[in-house]
Point group: C2
Chain length 392, copies 2
């Protein structure tokens, strides 16, 4: 970083980084903002115009004389293919460079069928959606995919994903990249949900923790406005933190007393079924809560308390500005939230909770696909990537 | 950040940032590394030479002809005053710009006597140490102070510190700054210990958690190689996380079941005293362990397990590369460490512990003063600060 020549940083990518806020700027303004020579700015603008990353527009505030030409970011320059693949269902979308969803589709999907049939279906769906929006594969600048398991960040490959038989080490980026001719980025589903929610709903928060409560439980962490992946990319796996109320409950991970084993959607559904209330998954639980089933409401509130107990420690340790509760179970709304808040406010330090915002996801089901698009856009529009693309 | 002119970033500070690694470089090398014009580099080097931040040296690898002049960072250009003030004892030091301790003093100190007597003593000690090293106040580039309580980062003032009566909101930076004529930076003691240990012992670790087990328990967090302070500067306060084994133990914070109330040095000493073994603080506990007192060894190992239980959750959530155990109790060495490791390896996810290093502090008692010096040096040598200092 330190030894990177300043010239690269101050290339076309630096101009685009400035223009990405949507505001149009004149050549003179860009010269002033970057400190670059006028001739360099002109050369870089030409490259960006050629690639249609920016469009010329007339400067509205110009007074008298010939109006100065201003340049604005062109969010329609390319499209992004985006997918949030869960254990049992999937959401697939085409977005523009401002993460606006142009077309999308949801579908049941059994991820445990293995990588090839899943990815073939995903490829077909991508192509259908592209067709729907009137775009071609050539206009795709990148592909973002979220998977329900640990993903090695550098390679984009799943690593020992517990609920994805056959996927361990599968080269997802290569498989899709060869067929679509675009960069493919893959990450854990909760990480992309955190990215999406941060981008769309709370971009001003320096620290945000997105907790997904579905069949399992996990969280995505935004630290200093960037995704915190941890030393092995394993950060956020709070589903297997031990909770005191469940010392003897065996978890699918083989340990006992895990949060997920007492508060995950599968666990709550099993408790309801054992009590004679028909429920087989987290969606059933949410439907029962919506119908006002007392047992379901009690269990979901208690699940919220269990999650809150783990989050109380995290609030003391990490001191986030925002906690977002998402995933299927979050759709049970205020009952889960009340349980979470109850414990956090009783257990965390007052200094850390004074301005803490605890809320359900604003993007809801869409957090994943928006986040996958954000991941791609941040990569594609990074100054270094743009420089390499337009200057080659 | 985005709108900061490139010219500022590429000033004298950028040259110093490159030279700080200790390696001497020629003018030509610096032109190549920065991408700046030769005339600009020469002008910036002159400014740095005038302020003695760098010294000229002959390029050793020059072959034939007139040897090229190279420039090296001058770590003796200034000195730093550094202090680690605890609840009952203090360590004060003078260091150079490479954090080498030139003189230091340790002393008993009752922080609860209030800010004025404490800071007056600190000022006197700083001046005595400066005299010992043959330096004057004019050579001091900054002052770093660690305090045993929460500190508001922006103002450097303690905020509601529980064991520091009279210190709430006291303007420590202004009080010392007026008398020493230098920038004063103040932070929580565990934060500076984390900074010191990271700088001196594990600079390559992206994520490091420094746990201080003394009378109380707290931790300092390095994320992306920088101190993570959290939204309210409250991050790292793990002493009041609830642990299951202590549901009915009342903590000094007013809550029950806090980690500190069962595993802190004061708690362990009280348990020993109640069992008829004379001990009144964490140093007594460590001495008993060193003497092989079985009860003390058992209690300290159990304290390690309690701390390990909280750290196991943190490992799952944060996925650090390194956990460092410091503070008085850490001097009981392998017994504490064994307890911590036992629980982390049994409770945390294998992926997150596979390459996790868990160790005691390498700097030991000195982590705080080294860290306070690092805090000052990072501030003083930051490109923007250097630019303002040499170009004014």
């Amino acid at each position: 970083m330190l030894n990177e020549p300043v010239g690269t940083v101050a290339g076309a990518g630096a101009l685009l980084a400035i223009l990405r806020d949507g505001q149009a700027r004149t050549r003179a303004e860009l010269v002033q903002l970057t400190g670059l020579a006028r001739s360099t700015v002109s050369q870089r603008l030409d490259a960006l115009l050629t690639h249609q990353w920016i469009v010329p527009t007339e400067d509205a505030i110009s007074s008298g004389g010939r109006p100065a030409v201003a340049f604005a970011f062109n969010s329609s320059a390319r499209v992004v293919l985006s997918a949030d693949l869960g254990a049992t269902h999937a959401r697939v979308a085409v977005t523009d460079l401002a993460t606006t969803v142009l077309a999308e589709r949801t579908s049941d999907l059994a991820i445990d069928k293995g990588p090839e049939p899943t990815l073939q279906w995903l490829l077909d769906t991508f192509l259908e959606l592209l067709d729907e929006t009137g775009h071609t594969v050539e206009q795709v600048c990148g592909v973002g995919v979220g998977l329900p398991g640990p993903v090695e960040h550098a390679s984009g490959r799943p690593i020992n994903p517990p609920i994805m038989p056959g996927w361990d080490g599968f080269p997802v980026p290569e498989w899709l990249g060869e067929r679509l001719g675009a960069a493919v980025l893959v990450d854990n589903d909760v990480n992309i949900m955190a990215l999406g929610e941060h981008w769309a709903a709370r971009p001003e928060a320096d620290q945000l923790v997105f907790v997904k409560i579905g069949t399992g439980i996990g969280c995505g962490i935004i630290s200093d406005r960037r995704l915190h992946r941890g030393a092995q990319g394993a950060a956020g796996d709070i589903g297997h933190v031990r909770v005191s109320s469940a010392a003897d409950v065996v978890c699918r991970c083989g340990n006992t007393g895990c949060l997920e084993a007492v508060a995950g959607g599968a666990s709550v559904a099993a408790k309801l079924a054992a009590a004679g209330v028909p429920a087989s998954n987290s969606r059933d639980v949410v439907n029962l809560v919506r119908q006002g089933n007392t047992q379901a409401v009690q269990l979901i509130r208690q699940a919220g308390r269990e999650v809150g107990d783990v989050l109380a420690s995290i609030v003391n340790f990490f001191n986030p500005a925002v906690i977002v509760i998402g995933g299927d179970i979050a759709e049970a709304g205020e009952h889960v939230l009340a349980g979470v808040r109850e414990v956090i406010y009783s257990r965390s330090l007052p200094l850390a909770t004074q301005h803490l915002s605890i809320r359900t996801s604003e993007l809801g089901d869409r957090a994943g696909v928006v986040g996958a698009a954000v991941m791609v856009i941040e990569h594609v529009l990074a100054p270094g990537t743009v420089d390499r693309a337009v200057l080659r």
